[in-house]
């Protein structure tokens, strides 16, 4: 199965001190991975205030995934010195997958306190997700400090387009604590810790490992086998600092992630949003990511099969760089047009401190997004 992720619930940005307004928008995201995978995703969203105390937000999107996905890791090829070379092989027919998703959020304000409930649904041929969340927000000291606490739960069903008998549950509970603090008239910081506890089916039924051994003419073919639980923690800190003289804003995001699969990951993004007159702005950004492999990651299937083993390179040790550029135009009519283009480069050599997984196949992809929105 393609690896499942947590889908972030819709959260339109709330600017400190700004008047609340409604907003509607449409965007299209495109992603193309070196001739393999192509994704297009139209997305529609809406946010509106209802009276003084109520606020609603909703979004819907359709992911269309076409192309071929690497499904087999093998060491069949060898270098001239006999050293094993690992290769990803595309097996089976090309994929053509469609995922529809929708979410809604209702917020009730009680003065400095706000309570939100959310609901999210996602459907695709081999994966179904139903989730809800509750979030509380408390403004202190005239909104100089904002405390946030949240709980969410998702009940997912994992299926397979190649195995009709697979219909397994995966349940996840999430907890979140956060604080947003104004540091000065020009700067603020937000720090959030989220903890997730998952139980259920995590194996990817589309991933296989085929390993050859010199002393055995019969290769080992191993399915993807992962633990039946996943407990994780993510700590995200965001810093914003405006420089009035330069007319620009520094944006720095750092996230530390760890889980009980042995994965340790860091993501750091720095961006500079520069205003060009009243209507235009550009935002160059650079994101760096590095992760340590899962304990059970191995591109080789052992002859004596362990209880858990996966050659999925998304569980390997690697690093990644992604530069991007966003251009924004704010029209007099109130429409905001945004265009973003980016490049993604993941490689073993980019792993922090070196020592990325040797079998990791370099990933190169381009992505872009066009968005039109309007406040009302």
């Amino acid at each position: 199965m393609k690896a499942a992720l947590a889908l972030p619930i819709l959260a339109l940005p709330t600017r400190a001190g700004a008047a609340e307004t409604g907003e509607v928008g449409f965007s299209t995201l495109g992603y193309k991975e070196r001739g393999l995978i192509k994704v297009t995703e139209p997305l529609l969203w809406l946010r509106a205030k209802l009276g003084e105390d109520w606020e609603v937000a909703a979004s819907g999107a359709v992911d269309v995934v076409t192309g071929a996905s690497p499904e087999l890791i093998t060491n069949r090829d060898r270098a001239s010195n006999g050293e094993a070379r690992f290769a990803q092989t595309v097996t089976g027919a090309s994929i053509n997958d469609r995922r529809t998703t929708a979410d809604a959020k209702v917020t009730r304000h009680f003065g400095d306190f706000a309570l939100s409930v959310t609901r999210a649904v996602s459907n695709e041929e081999d994966y179904r997700s139903r989730a809800f969340g509750v979030e509380a927000r408390l403004d202190l000291d005239q909104r100089n400090t904002t405390l946030t606490a949240g709980f969410g739960r998702s009940a997912d069903r994992v299926r397979s387009s190649v195995d009709a008998t697979l219909d397994a549950p995966r349940d996840t509970k999430e907890y979140l604590l956060g604080v947003t603090q104004l540091l000065s008239p020009l700067a603020l910081v937000q720090s959030t810790v989220s903890v997730a506890r998952g139980r259920g089916w995590y194996n990817d039924p589309y991933k296989l490992t085929l390993s050859f051994y010199p002393d055995d003419p019969i290769p080992v073919l191993a399915p993807d086998q992962r633990p039946d639980h996943r407990n994780s923690m993510a700590w995200l800190t965001r810093y914003r600092r405006h420089f009035p003289g330069a007319g620009g804003t520094l944006q720095v995001d750092y996230r530390y992630y760890r889980d009980d699969w042995g994965i340790r990951a860091h993501a750091l993004e720095g961006a500079w949003e520069q205003a060009l007159g009243e209507r235009w702005s550009i935002r160059p950004a650079l994101r760096y990511y590095t992760q340590q492999a899962a304990d059970f990651y191995s591109p080789l299937a052992p002859e004596m099969q362990p209880a858990v083993q996966s050659s999925d390179q998304r569980l390997a040790s690697f690093g990644g760089l992604s530069p991007s550029l966003r251009v924004t135009l704010r029209l007099e009519s109130g429409f905001v047009v945004e265009g973003t283009a980016g490049y993604l480069h993941n490689a073993a050599a980019l792993h922090a401190g070196g020592s990325g997984s040797p079998a990791f196949e370099t990933l190169r992809a381009i992505y872009g997004l066009l968005s039109v929105s309007r406040a009302f």
Binding site: A3, P8, W45, N144, Y289
Partner: protein, 71 residues
Amino acid sequence: MRPRAAGWVALVAALVAAGCAHVPAYQRGYLARPAMAVEDSPSERAFDKTFSAKEAASGGTSVGGGGCGCN
């Protein structure tokens, strides 16, 4: 949460609290700029999924969003 992690969280919270000033509402003009937002727009959330579909790590921004069988 493990005691060590809780300690780091408390340390960051203390540093933040120690380094901040009270900003009255009439001085928040710059803080209200869109570039100062700390919550992702729907478009930015779509980018999060672009990265997390190729990485093992995810999350940290919200709860209750559900999962997907993303490639």
